[in-house]
C-alpha cells in the first residue's frame, strides 16, 4: 500500500486525513481497517520524509533564445 510514486504532499495529506476520519468513525470492518491503517502509516512516513527534505537552493526563472522558460540555479552574487 505504498503511496503512488509521484503523489504530491498535498494529496498524501488529504488521503491521510480521509483515512483518519474513516477510522475515527469506527464503521470500517477490522480487516479493511488494517488495510487503511497500513496505508495511513505509509502516507505518514512519506509526509515525514518530505518534511525532512531541504531544498536550500534558489532558482531563477529565465528565458532562452527562443523564449522558452526554465528555472536555472541562481548565482548568489547575482546583480
Amino acid at each position: 500500500m505504498a503511496p503512488k510514486k509521484r503523489m504530491s504532499f498535498a494529496e498524501a495529506v488529504d488521503r491521510l486525513e480521509s483515512i483518519v476520519n474513516q477510522l475515527d468513525q469506527g464503521e470500517v470492518p477490522l480487516e479493511e481497517s488494517f488495510i487503511l491503517f497500513e496505508e495511513g502509516v505509509e502516507l505518514a512516513k512519506f509526509c515525514s520524509a518530505k518534511l525532512n527534505e531541504a531544498e536550500k537552493k534558489i532558482e531563477k526563472l529565465s528565458k532562452d533564445g527562443l523564449g522558452k522558460l526554465a528555472a536555472i540555479p541562481l548565482e548568489t552574487d547575482d546583480e
Binding site: 504532499f9 475515527d24 491503517f37 502509516v41 505518514a44 515525514s48 527534505e53 531541504a54 536550500k56 526563472l61
Partner: protein
Amino acid sequence: MALIEDKILSVTELTREIKLSLENEYSSLWVEGEISNFKRHTSGHLYFSIKDTNASLRCVMWRGTAAYLQFEPEDGVKVRVFGDVTVYEKQGAYQLRANRIVPLGVGHLEIAFRKLKEKLAAEGLFAEDIKQALPRYPETVGVVTSPTGAAVRDIIVTLQRRWPAVRIVLAPVAVQGAGAAEQIAAAIEDFNRWGKADVLIVGRGGGSLEDLWPFNEEIVARAVYNSDVPVVSAVGHEVDFSICDFVADLRAPTPTAAAEAVVPDAAQVRAGIARAVKTMSVRMSEQVRRYREVVRGFTTHYGLRRIADVVFQKAQEIDDFERRLYNGIRAMASNRRGRVDRLTAQLTALSPARVLQRGYSMTRTYPGERIITNSGDVKPGTKIKTVLADGELLSTVEEIMPSVREETINEQVT
C-alpha cells in the same frame, strides 16, 4: 520743502510698517514653485527658496513643523508651500514661514492612484468572489521582486525556515523607476506560461509613494488579475496600500508576512501527522480489543465446540493484527523523533511482545501453531509450544487439571 514737510521715518519705523502690512496681507497662503538651495540646518530648521522662471522666494520651516514632513524635500522638486510671509527686520528681508510642503509630483500620483482604483473597482478587479484560494502545501513558490535588498532576503529566509522542502524560483525585476511596472507584469505572465509555480509572491520593501509606484500601475494590476497562479502581494510596509494589493488574491502587510501566508509551518504539520498516526493507532487497538472481547465471549460463555476452529482462527487473526499494528508503529518510529517516540512507546505497551515481557505467555499447539485457549484443546501427551518474551519452550502435556477460572486461561491469548 518736501524733505522737511514730509514725515520722515526711521528705518525701523518703515520696516515695521512694511512688516505689518505684508504680514497682514500675505498670511495663510499657498505658493507654488521649485525648491532650490535646500539646507537642513543642524538646529533642525529647514532653509530653502522656491522659485519659478522670474522670481525667487526665501522660505524657512522651523524644526517643530519640519518633524511632521511626509517627504524629504530636495532641490528641483516642484512643491506647493503653505505658510505666512514674515519680515526679518534686522536684514530688511521677507521670507515665507512654511507650515506645510506638498510635493507636486506626488500630488499627481495620488490623484492617479485614486482614479485607477475607482476604474478597476468598477470593472470588478477587486471583487472578493474572484479571489483564488492559496494552495495548502505549495511545492514551488515563484517570487517577483528585486534580487537585491531586504525584501527578497526576508522572503527566502522565511520560506525556508517554515517549509524547508519548498522550491523557490525568483524572477528578478526592477521594483522602482522607469520600466519596472512592465518587468513586474512580464514576470507574472512568465510564471503563468511556465506553469510550475503553485503560488506567487509579488512585492518589495518600503519606500516613498514614488518608489512604490510601479505596483500602482494598470499593467501590473491586469497581470495579477489575469494570473491563474494565485498571487500574494506584499508592497511596502503595513501602512502602504497599492493597487496590486487590491487585485491580489491575498494582501500581506510585509514581504515576511507574505512568505508566512504562502507556506505552512513544517513543525505544525509534523505535529498534525503525529496526531493522525496516534488517532489511527488508538482506533486500531480499540477495534482489536473489541474484537477480542467478542471472541472471548464465544469461548468462555458458551464453549461452543462446533465453532471452536473458527474462534481459534479469529484469535490468531487478532495476534496477526496486533503484529501489523506494532510493525506499523515501529515503521513510523524509524523515521521520526520526539512526539512520535512517545507515541510509539505508548503503543508498544499495548503490543503482544510487551505483554509477554510482563510475564504472560502464549501457548500454541505443536505442530499446528494454533493458540490454545481452552484446556480441552489438548490432552496428556500433546506437544505444546509456549511463547515467552525471549524464546519458546517445547513441552509435552502431563496432565489436564480443571481450571480455577476460565478467564485465567483466556488471558493467555493476549
